[in-house]
Amino acid sequence: MIARKVSIVDYGMGNIWSIVSALKYLGVVDVRLISNPDDIMQSDFLILPGVGSFRKGMESLINSGIDKAIIDFSTKKKGNILGICLGMHLMGSYGAEDGGTKGLGLLPNKVELFTPENLNGNKLPHVGFNSTYISEDSGIFNNLDSESDFYYTHSYRMLADDIQGRYAICKYGIEFLAAFEMDNICGTQFHPEKSQTNGLILLNNFVNKVI
């Protein structure tokens, strides 16, 4: 049993049910879906999921006032946060989709479309399990092989420029940021809740992080 309070931000973007199932499977007893700013500050662990458009996602966070709460949770309270897929993108500084939108800015990295040049003949979206290269066997990457397979589904990528802390890289025509852990702030481009036991191991590492 894991007696930590894990909250999943429910802002209408994507499949939350699978993350709940995975956390319960790992023995997390207290899993909550939250959608208001006050609840965010009360959490031990926060997961920001999401699929879909960067702009829509950001608008949805701003309209409910969750954006500021997430920033406070991550930077002032130093709470452990994990962004998944679009959730990770939104943590960046900027998303190029639909003419460009400012992100939460928890890390300076930008999000861009895979261009035909850098796709190098690969199809878009990038869908399926892909080899993921992990910088070190510790933190959220504990107990994972340096090359591990994770499930991806996306058309935009976060650039891996100047990434600090632990990270993982994936290549699809061109390299992109697959996952990172900078102290309390973590993100995965892939879906750990859809990546069989590799994903369960990563989620288990996250919810067992030192508070």
């Binding site: 199932s21 995975a22 499977y25 699929v51 979206p125 699809y172 036991t197 191991i201």
Partner: protein, 268 residues
């Protein structure tokens, strides 16, 4: 490197799971039966994705199907696509909120591509799988919708050209002639794919044994192979098929299935 995928398709009909042979349905059992006899949550650790299609003819109990999707996602940590009778953004939303990661559309492609655009705006194109049912008639590949009951006036190549211009993430290319026969895939269908077609292809219809899956994976044009053959592959069939494919160095994803036991033990 991006891996190829082995997908299992569950066909659902009015509260039960069914076998389909050339689109004629035969009841197999309900979800309790599936779990009891086939330990489905265990089996899901040997496939890359699951597709669940509501093929109920006539009026569908939509909430009951959502309930089944929710139950299937409970202990399966793989992507799940759900579909069958989707006609509106609202319905797509219900399935996506029941644990599905993607929706499968088929008849909608002919009836209302505008709804497909709406789903894509809301959730992105990666979340939409276009299913195309094909029958060979007089050496022509004809496209059928509405559970294989209505023949479309366009041939397969033209149909795929049209799909290539829609916001679609994947193609589920299904042979009605081979469906449920266990005789192997209909590779000729792949010849109809236009050169400029840029969407990942799932080949379906006809796989009845491990060798069929491997021959599908051997084809460069195929990104994923699917089977809906409950009897041939469920039990330890999928486990054995996957292990054989991995042993033969097929480009499939790897994970340590034994880790499940560690997580399970901790829960006890």
């Amino acid at each position: 490197m991006l891996k190829k995928r082995v997908i299992f398709t569950l066909l659902y009909n009015d509260g039960s799971f069914v076998l389909s042979r050339n689109f004629r349905l035969q009841r197999v059992g309900d979800i309790r039966w599936l779990q009891k006899n086939y330990n489905f949550s265990h089996i899901s650790f040997f496939i890359d994705e699951l597709i669940v299609l509501d093929v109920t003819r006539g009026i569908k109990n939509e909430e009951l199907f959502c309930e089944h999707v929710r139950l299937l996602t409970k202990e399966s940590f793989i992507p799940i696509a759900a579909g069958g009778g989707i006609r509106s953004l609202e319905r797509a939303k219900e399935l996506l909120h029941s644990g599905a990661d993607k929706v499968v559309v088929n008849t909608l492609i002919s009836e209302s591509p505008k709804v497909i655009e709406e789903i894509a705006i809301e959730y992105g194109r990666q979340c939409i799988v276009a299913s195309v049912d094909v029958k060979k008639i007089n050496n022509q590949f004809t496209v059928w919708t509405n559970n294989g009951t209505i023949k479309q006036m366009y041939d397969l190549s033209t149909w795929l050209d049209n799909i290539n211009n829609l916001p679609i993430g994947e193609l589920y290319l299904n042979s009605m002639d081979k469906d449920g026969t266990g005789q192997g895939y209909h590779f000729d269908l792949l010849d109809a794919i236009p050169n400029q077609f840029s969407i990942p292809v799932i080949l379906a219809g006809g796989a009845g044994k491990h060798g069929h899956l491997s021959s599908g994976l051997d084809d460069k044009r195929v990104d994923a192979v699917a089977t809906a053959h409950l009897f041939n592959f469920v039990g330890d069939g999928l486990e054995r098929a996957r292990n054989k494919l991995l042993h033969d160095n097929y480009n499939l994803a790897k994970w340590d299935v034994n880790k499940i036991n560690e997580f399970k033990e901790r829960l006890l």
